[in-house]
Symmetry: C2
Subunit: 346 residues, 2 copies
């Protein structure tokens, strides 16, 4: 087994980031991390899908505004979401006239976006690159599970899809935080078939990529203020820590999970936690990046996690493949490594 970790010798900077959320996100413990809360799930549109597109577009525009950037200053944008054919993104950004590359990694999308945006900057293929992703509870429920009106009961291991989006701009300018390296994930499928337990399906993918990152970089976990996963929730987080404990590594003190951060388990009915591409993206853009910029955190490893199922193949009895890409973000640009990528045999 081999992974692939790329090193960004020039340490591209995340010069701006923004997050926008819905009512549930505004009612939760992370409300201060959002630049804007929109309590209307339709976002003043006619359908939930249009609402998600508007949410995503608002987030892109907010990230540009916070960085005092014109849309024309963005050379390339990476985006995707959970809706079929990524329409949350494509309809959201279609009027912005920014060169666009569509990506799909389910809830891991934000790290894929950071990775590719950083690579364009580090390689000199763009001056400014933007990454964005979103999710929307109501649009996701009716696409993946049941229409809300059906009032279906949710199982204890299920997670609550965040109505949230995160956008960030990467550039060669010198402004913390900096993207130092990233591990491209491999698809891992351990045979979990329960689409209402995606934390368990995704945890082995996060474990694989985080482990690969440390092997390829030869860095130690202790160097990091936090090792963050996307949306494993309570169940998946427990599985992840258990997998590491078998290797003799206690991850419990360093590990944070955006799915367990976003909502209050006591006061909000979110079962195993938050999920959705917007969960990790909004926490990265609204919680971690500001703390890396201020110096409160010096280094984080951010490994968003995606479950690559769809309802059709789940109904056909398929198991759930998952993927996680891990990105090292630092308050310090560091010194350039002498290699651009590393692959170690396991």
């Amino acid at each position: 087994m081999k992974g692939c970790t790329v090193f960004f010798g020039t340490s591209p900077a995340i010069i701006s980031s923004a997050s926008v959320g819905g009512k549930m996100e505004g009612d939760g413990p992370m409300s201060a991390c959002f630049d804007k809360i929109n309590e209307d799930p339709f976002f003043s549109c006619e359908t939930f899908e249009q609402g998600e597109s508007k949410l995503l577009k608002e987030t892109v525009l907010k990230a540009l505004e916070k960085g005092s950037l014109a849309t024309g200053s963005i050379d390339v944008m990476f985006g995707g979401d959970l809706l079929d054919q990524c329409v949350g993104t494509t309809y959201g950004v279609r009027e912005l006239d920014i060169p666009f590359l569509g990506i799909y990694g389910a809830c891991s999308t934000v790290t894929e976006g950071v990775l590719l945006a950083s690579l364009f900057i580090d390689g000199g293929y763009a001056k400014r690159a933007l990454a964005v992703t979103s999710s929307h509870f109501c649009a996701a429920e009716r696409q993946y599970r049941f229409p809300l009106n059906y009032g279906g009961q949710r199982t204890p291991t299920s997670q609550y899809t965040a109505t949230a989006a995160g956008a960030l701009v990467v550039s060669a300018e010198r402004l913390p935080p900096y993207v130092r390296a990233a591990t491209v994930g491999r698809i891992v499928d351990m045979g979990v078939k329960d689409a209402a337990n995606m934390g368990a399906a995704m945890a082995p993918a996060a474990y694989t990529s985080i482990k690969q990152f440390f092997e390829d970089t030869e860095l130690k976990p202790e160097m990091f203020d936090a090792i963050v996963t996307g949306d494993l929730g309570k169940v998946g987080s427990r599985v992840l820590c258990e997998l590491f404990s078998r290797d003799g590594i206690d991850l419990t003190t360093l590990h944070r999970d955006c799915g367990t951060m976003l909502y209050s388990f006591e006061e909000q009915d979110v079962h195993a936690g938050g999920s959705g591409a917007g969960c990790a993206a909004s926490m990265l853009c609204g919680y971690f990046i500001p703390r890396l910029r201020s110096g409160e955190f010096r280094n984080i490893l951010f490994a968003a996690t995606g479950a690559l199922l769809n309802p059709t193949v789940s109904a056909q009895g398929e198991s759930i493949p998952a993927i996680s890409h891990a990105v090292w973000i630092s308050s310090d640009p560091g010194t350039a490594p002498d290699i651009r990528f590393s692959r170690k045999e396991r």
Copy 2:
């Protein structure tokens, strides 16, 4: 309006490519371009979706075999398809254990894959990168339109989704053809709402990217043996040539469209032509790349085109945004330009 054209100074090489098709593709005029034809739409699986995954996997393995490459020699793979959440790809490659980045560009996916794979090689972030995409007539019909059993009538402007896949491997080795530059497309939505006329919806996106490519590179169309679009079909090809003729450019002699090449209009019931992510991918991998390698063609501009709709938002009355990324592939590695990207005001 600004585009973004990236230049690959090291001219990454496409060292291997493969294409696999279904019965309709084997019965058409391009049958010799396929490494393998599988007449069973299920590909010996139980469902069409599983069949598409097997088709895609077979194509990846064939591209590796033709290049005498082990799966472990691929540092990163880019892939996506038309199925919801790109399951054709993720389920197809999940057992290969290759670092994977999911991309979504509908039928433009193959050029996004070539672009990103070339960028990883040119920037030194990988030694070998693979790009793959597929489509499957039966899986696409029931997802985008009606189940086949319904026997729905198709309109004259509709296109026939190819059951086909194309895969290629990019490397820093010296073996023609070479990827020289690529224009990242912008999303173009001219308000076309007829989901059975995607050629018309996509033609303006192809026009925009091809025009941008020539402005950014300052090359002349006459330098190219062919300017190829993905799957505009008869209707979209006419629109594209009409748009260029308004600029005083006669594209008719240079223009080729994979959607009009793949099938016989006289003998096969394909209405306006072929479509699907596998249409452009199989023609690139099975027709154009071998001719560039042999020197029959010296330069092509390959602009696959994607319609970014989904059935839900189409039913909500939305128009169809489209995108096209254009890649310059040459039998000659050329000399490195002194810039890595170009953006010109229009």
